[in-house]
């Protein structure tokens, strides 16, 4: 039987999700960094990250944007975050990265895979429009399979409807 490779990103997510559990449903979503990033940063190290590191990206730039329910429209806040991402990614141009699209649990499984893909694509398109080379960007959708917040109310659902820019491990 062919053994399929395990998903590196999810293994990181396991460790970081455990760290997050202490502060689940944090009020400021940008405090939660690198939950799904392949080279994801830790939590709560704002300001101390080495410039150009994935920690720096997650903590000082913000590695994720959020969406309204059943929408892939980028809000003004999301666009501002992506503008900062694009600037950082242009400065540190050796990083390739994956945009991970996610949905909240209030949708059916298969639709949410497609909805997550739509969010990842909208995020990718915006970054490309801000000068980031499309060849550096992969997209993937996890649908509703990988929530970061699980408190079953609106404050959590809104954190789960997200697109996360996950830098590939180390500078390539």
């Amino acid at each position: 039987m062919k053994k399929l490779g395990s998903m590196v990103g999810l293994k990181h997510a396991a460790v970081l999700a455990a760290a997050l559990a202490l502060g689940a449903c944090a009020k400021n979503p940008t405090d939660m960094a690198g939950l799904d990033g392949r080279g994801g940063a830790g939590v709560g190290v704002a300001g101390s990250a080495t410039p150009g590191s994935s920690q720096d990206f997650a903590v000082n730039v913000g590695d994720r944007v959020f969406f309204d329910s059943d929408s892939s429209q980028l809000s003004a806040t999301a666009q501002a975050t992506l503008d900062k991402q694009a600037a950082w990614l242009s400065r540190y141009a050796s990083y390739n990265f994956t945009v991970e699209g996610h949905a909240d649990e209030r949708g059916t499984r298969e639709y949410n895979f497609a909805l997550g893909a739509r969010r990842a694509q909208a995020t990718k398109d915006y970054l490309v429009s801000r000068g980031v080379a499309a060849s550096r960007i992969k997209t993937i959708s996890y649908g509703k399979e990988r929530p970061v917040a699980v408190c079953d109310d609106i404050s959590c659902w809104s954190q789960n409807r997200r697109a996360v820019t996950a830098l590939h491990g180390g500078q390539s």
């Binding site: 039987m1 062919k2 053994k3 399929l4 490779g5 395990s6 998903m7 999810l10 997510a13 396991a14 999700a17 455990a18 997050l20 559990a21 059943d70 892939s72 649990e105 209030r106 949708g107 059916t108 499984r109 298969e110 639709y111 895979f113 497609a114 909805l115 893909a117 739509r118 990842a120 694509q121 909208a122 993937i140 959708s141 996890y142 399979e145 990988r146 929530p147 970061v148 699980v150």
Partner: protein, 449 residues
């Protein structure tokens, strides 16, 4: 690769004792197949009109404890099945069952006093060769005649399956409908935290027995669906590459990627002839429906929208496909020809409609509906009429049909994770299917026989 599964058993009809000229039960030679197209009983003989809508009274069937060293376990499986059958009400024979000779006509007066319309007697005993002989007779209490009778000789390890086959024979005779007990459920076993679930493909009997894993949990897997002969599964799996549709042979554990597509493939289902897989392909944020011929590997694009087209399902005759699309703004159910082309929207109720699944009988399409009231499971006719909600609540999702088209199974998130439930299509009763861990994405096989 696509052979029917046989049980290596001998089967024969039991003639009615003392009146051998009486019409025997439906002849079932050459295998254990209990055809879902079992001949309908005439109206005069039938006690239960399943098609009359939701107004029916379950038929009282008294179960006499089976004789023999294997009798108790066989009878308990049958009783447990009927307790979840909605259309049959199993009665404990009590004193009326004491001393009943399974080879002779029981004392009908005693069962009439119990209000039983039928009585089941039987025996399961190991012979000198170590093989288990299981036999049953179904007696019509009113007429005083044998309505069905069969015997099965098999390896004792198949006893549980024989009990399901006996249950189906009785269910079919009493209701005039196909059985559904000799079936299996493929599903996703869920363990670990909600943020980082481990998901394994698993399979079990329809009553939750004989559960086993088909994958080890290294990769995230979702949405298994049985092939028509129940020998294979198609499902979506995350691995090192993009998420893809896979094909798994249940017995050999061999698996392969379905097709060579440039993006994420998901929501796969088999065609009724088992020759094709229909699925969604995501490309630049848009999802369209494709089918792939499993022999030639040729792919055909069936929809061409800039929307999310997913959750396709063939009609049982293979001529049409229902699917969900948000091309009109929100998720709704559409029906198109199996070759693609124009699609007609059939869902117009309040909310978003998704996960359409065509009944094996062709009469209904089951769906998930999301509205401010929550997630509902319902059925609708393929022309959009006759919509009926079976259950609604905080969460219900992903119906799958029993092969007789009388029951749906689905999953519901309850206290921290999903569990599997089944309901009859009239919404009379609901039963949880016992699983060791959380469970989601059920797929109900056809009759295994």
């Amino acid at each position: 690769m696509r052979q029917k599964q046989t049980l290596h058993t001998e089967l024969q009809d039991l003639p009615m004792p003392f009146t051998p000229s009486r019409r025997a039960a439906a002849a079932l030679f050459g295998g254990l197949a209990l055809s879902p197209l079992a001949p309908r009983l005439s109206a005069a003989e039938r006690y239960l009109d399943v098609h009359g809508g939701g107004n029916f009274t379950p038929v009282n069937v008294a179960i006499v404890p089976f004789a023999g060293d294997g009798g108790a376990s066989v009878a308990s499986v049958i009783v447990n099945n009927f307790k979840r059958s909605v259309f049959i009400n199993p009665l404990d024979a009590g004193a009326a069952g004491t001393g009943v000779n399974p080879d002779a006509a029981p004392n009908m007066a005693a069962f009439r006093a119990l209000n039983a319309q039928y009585v089941v007697v039987g025996r399961a005993a190991r012979g000198p060769d170590g093989r288990m002989k299981t036999e049953f007779r179904l007696w019509d209490v009113g007429a005083g005649t044998q309505a069905a009778g069969q015997q099965y000789v098999t390896d004792p390890k198949n006893s549980r399956r024989v009990a399901h086959i006996v249950s189906d024979a009785i269910f079919s005779k009493v209701t005039g409908e196909g059985g559904f007990f000799d079936t299996r459920i493929a599903f996703v076993d869920e363990t670990g935290s909600r943020q980082n679930r481990t998901k394994k493909l698993a399979i079990m009997d329809q009553d939750g027995a004989n559960a086993r894993y088909l994958t080890r949990g290294d990769d995230l897997v979702v949405t298994p669906r049985f092939s028509p002969n129940s020998q294979e599964l198609t499902y979506m799996s995350f691995g090192a590459e993009d998420p893809r549709v896979f094909l798994l042979n249940i017995d050999t554990s061999q698996r392969e990627v379905v097709g060579n597509f440039p993006g994420m493939t998901f929501s796969p289902r088999f065609s009724p002839d088992g020759q094709r897989i229909v699925m969604s392909l995501e490309d630049n944020g848009v999802a369209n429906i494709y089918s792939m011929d499993l022999r030639s590997r040729a792919t055909t694009r069936l929809t061409n929208s800039s929307a999310i087209d997913t959750s396709p399902c063939y009609s049982p005759d293979g001529s049409r496909i229902c699917f969900e699309s948000d091309r009109g703004g929100t998720q709704q159910i559409y029906v198109m020809s199996a070759g693609g082309g124009a699609a007609n929207r059939i869902s117009f109720g309040q909310g978003r409609y998704s996960t359409p699944v065509w009944s094996p009988k062709g009469d209904y399409i089951a769906f998930t509906r999301q509205s401010p009231a929550g997630f509902a499971i319902g059925v609708i006719k393929p022309d959009g009429s006759g919509e009926r909600i079976l259950v609604e609540g905080f969460h219900n999702e992903g119906p799958t049909w029993a092969p007789n088209g009388l029951f749906v199974m689905f999953f519901r998130n309850v206290s921290g994770g999903p569990r599997l439930f089944m309901r009859d299509i009239f919404g009379h009763a609901e039963f949880e299917i016992p699983t060791q861990s959380f469970a989601s994405d059920p797929s109900w096989s056809g009759l295994i026989g």
